[in-house]
């Protein structure tokens, strides 16, 4: 798996966060190709393009303008072509409410954005190291929240 390029899609409206995320990915050992979109609308347009090259993991921010991450998660899980996609929630919020709701709606993992770069690198690397084939969504709430 580490020999293969992982296709990563990040949906985040914050330019700085997109930058930190890219830097973190560059700093880890896993080889990735990163695509970024600025909000939920752009994300869904990208995913629903004909012949779209679907990502291995989507990092989804929750608080976005126009269409937020929760809506995107619902649409993805309700779309037959997209519902098998791996979705990692990537949010500033650590609220129990948000964690609970995204778990119920079928997100695979929840990452609270860290306030330290090394922590960021670690949490992104951990997320990408998960063998997603065996990490089936909605089965284990204890491992859902990815602790830093």
């Amino acid at each position: 798996m580490s020999n293969k390029l992982l296709r990563i899609l990040l949906a985040d409206d914050d330019e700085d966060d997109r930058l930190f995320f890219k830097e973190a990915l560059e700093a880890i050992k896993i080889k990735t190709i990163v695509t970024t979109v600025n909000d939920g609308i752009e994300l869904m347009e990208y995913l629903l393009l004909p012949n779209a090259l679907l990502p291995d993991v989507i990092f989804l921010d929750l608080n976005m303008p126009r269409k937020d991450g929760m809506q995107c998660l619902e649409e993805i899980r309700n779309n037959d072509a997209l519902k098998e996609l791996t979705v990692a929630i990537y949010s500033t919020s650590g609220a129990e409410r948000d964690i609970e709701e995204t778990f119920i709606k079928g997100a695979n993992v929840y990452i609270k954005k860290p306030n330290d770069f090394s922590a960021l690198k670690k949490v992104v690397e951990d997320a990408l190291k998960i063998n997603w084939q065996y990490h089936i969504s909605g089965t284990n709430k204890d491992s859902f929240m990815l602790s830093i």
Binding site: D14, D16, D17, F20, N63, T92, S93, A95, E96, R97, E100, K113, P114, N115, D116, F117, S118, L120
Partner: protein, 536 residues
């Protein structure tokens, strides 16, 4: 009815009166007739006697005349002629008397006529004899003859008179018979009259008496009735006076009522106004409550969003600082490095503050769906908290000992109870005495509500009293309330990190579980926090 009876009685009375009068008149008339008859009969008797006497007188006169004539003839004395002459006149007057007396009797009149003839004849004979006496009697035979004739006439007269007397005697007898019968009837009539009169008198007396009695009775009754009527009148007068009084009283009462009614109406109006006011106030209150609900929601949303959105720039600030530390540690001057460290410390503090506010806002949202009450074993909660704190190394760093006895199972919200014990243990560790390692003792007992000296305790309930006692620096008892107030701190932040939110959250959590929390402190000795949860 009575009138009818009266009228019939009076009619009867009149009829009986008329009958009585008729009978009386009848009897009276009979009596009168009787008396009259008697009177007439008496007259007749008297007349008959008179007639008889007169007839006797007539005969004796005739004899006197004869005697006188004889005397004269013998004596030639004229003195003897005296009776003769007188008797002739007397006979005439008697005769006329007789004639008058017997004028009703045709038979006697006839007899009188015959008598008259006989008397005249006798006197004629006498006269002749007297006349002849003067001449001396030549023939004695003629004298005898003449005397014989005279004697015969006298006899005839005698017979005739006797006949007449016997007729009168017959009449007398007849009359006496009539009188006898009449007289025998008359007393009977009188007796009858008397008896009937007496009877009538008695009847009328009885009747009158009865009527009088009746009248008296009626009168008495009338008098009684009058008295009764008078009494009744008095009564009525009294009653009417009473009624007037009552009516006056009623009028007064009515006025009073009217007044009261007006008062009531006034009050009712006032009430209506007050009601409207109340309704208005209620509406206002409802509005306010709605507004409050909205505000609360907004506030909670605000708290959440603010905390969330505040974290974004803060997190990025921290990230950038961490990037600077990573990339340019060597190139920074020591002074600038200090500044960056201070920025990082401030940012961390800000981070903690925001997290605490977030925690507080979460425990304030009591109606959260995900926070339904469940059976929670406090033993496992405390174990969990100790484990977490051990992982966080805060226990090891301070060499803290935590003891806990058997804790109960209560109905509660797990994450809040977790936070409660985390905050309390952290609090005890934070305010340790530097000369001795912290010892925290957690125990549970059951107490009665009425035995708890706290106004929040319900006297009817039982409570689990969970105490968290430490041997830290404690506090003065006067601050026991203040330490639970939001953002209130007993120490400056340089000496102790903290936001002044932790114990407020504990208080809130205890209240969310229908309980409460108290604190007792002794400076330099330690503090004890007691949380009371109602048993089931």
């Amino acid at each position: 009815m009575k009138e009818q009876k009266n009228s019939t009685t009076s009619t009867l009375f009149a009829i009986s009166f008329i009958i009585s009068i008729s009978i009386l008149l009848f009897i009276g008339s009979l009596c009168y007739k009787q008396i009259k008859l008697q009177h007439e009969t008496q007259n007749l008797t008297t007349r008959a006697f008179k007639v008889q006497i007169l007839l006797e007188q007539l005969f004796s006169l005739a004899k006197d005349a004869e005697t006188g004539q004889r005397g004269y003839i013998i004596t030639k004395n004229t003195a003897f002629l005296e009776p003769y002459n007188q008797s002739r006149y007397k006979i005439d007057s008697i005769y006329s008397d007789l004639y008058l007396l017997t004028k009703d009797n045709a038979v006697q009149q006839q007899n009188l006529d015959s008598l008259n003839v006989l008397i005249n004849l006798r006197f004629d004979l006498l006269k002749k004899r007297i006349a002849e006496s003067g001449i001396t009697a030549k023939n004695t035979d003629s004298i005898y003859e003449k005397m014989w004739i005279g004697k015969n006439v006298m006899n005839l007269l005698r017979i005739h008179l006797n006949k007449m007397i016997s007729i009168e005697t017959d009449l007398l007898q007849q009359n006496q018979k009539i009188i006898k019968t009449a007289l025998s009837l008359t007393p009977m009539f009188f007796v009858g009259l008397f008896a009937f009169s007496i009877l009538l008198f008695f009847a009328s007396f009885y009747k009158t008496n009865k009527s009088l009695k009746n009248l008296k009775q009626v009168n008495d009754r009338l008098a009684e009735t009058k008295i009764e009527l008078e009494e009744k009148n008095k009564e009525l007068t009294f009653q009417s006076e009473e009624k007037e009084k009552r009516s006056k009283e009623l009028i007064i009462a009515n006025k009073e009522l009217a007044f009261q009614n007006e008062e009531k109406e006034k009050k009712a109006k006032e009430l209506i106004i007050a009601n409207k006011e109340l309704a208005f106030q209620n509406k206002e209150k409802e509005k306010r409550a709605e507004e409050l609900l909205v505000i609360n929601k907004e506030l909670s949303a605000f708290t959440y969003i603010a905390s969330h959105d505040l974290q974004e720039p803060l997190r990025k600030t921290q990230l950038f600082i961490s990037r600077i530390f990573d990339n340019a540690e060597q190139t920074l001057s020591e002074k600038n490095m200090d500044y960056f460290k201070k920025i990082q410390a401030s940012a961390s503090r800000m981070q903690i503050l925001i997290n605490d506010i977030l925690d507080y806002s979460r425990v304030t949202e009591k109606t959260e769906k995900t926070e339904k009450l469940k059976n929670v074993d406090l033993n496992s909660i405390v174990q969990n908290v100790v484990q977490e704190l051990t992982l966080a190394e805060s226990i090891e760093e301070t060499n803290t000992t935590i003891n806990f006895g058997k804790l109960p199972e209560i109905e509660g919200i797990p994450f809040q109870l977790n936070q409660l014990f985390t905050n309390l243990i952290n609090n005890s560790i934070k305010y340790l005495m530097s000369d001795r390692p912290p010892i925290i003792d957690i125990q549970s007992t059951v107490v009665l509500g009425k035995d708890i000296a706290n106004i929040k305790a319900d006297a009817t309930k039982k409570y689990y009293k969970i105490t968290v006692a430490d041997n830290g620096m404690g506090f003065e008892q006067k601050y026991a309330e203040r330490i639970f107030t939001l953002f209130q701190r007993l120490h400056d932040k340089q000496a102790f990190s903290g936001t002044g939110i932790g114990l407020t959250i504990c208080k809130r959590i205890a209240e969310n579980h229908n309980g409460f929390i108290t604190a007792t402190g002794v400076p330099d000795k330690g503090a004890t926090f007691a949380i009371y949860f109602p048993t089931s």
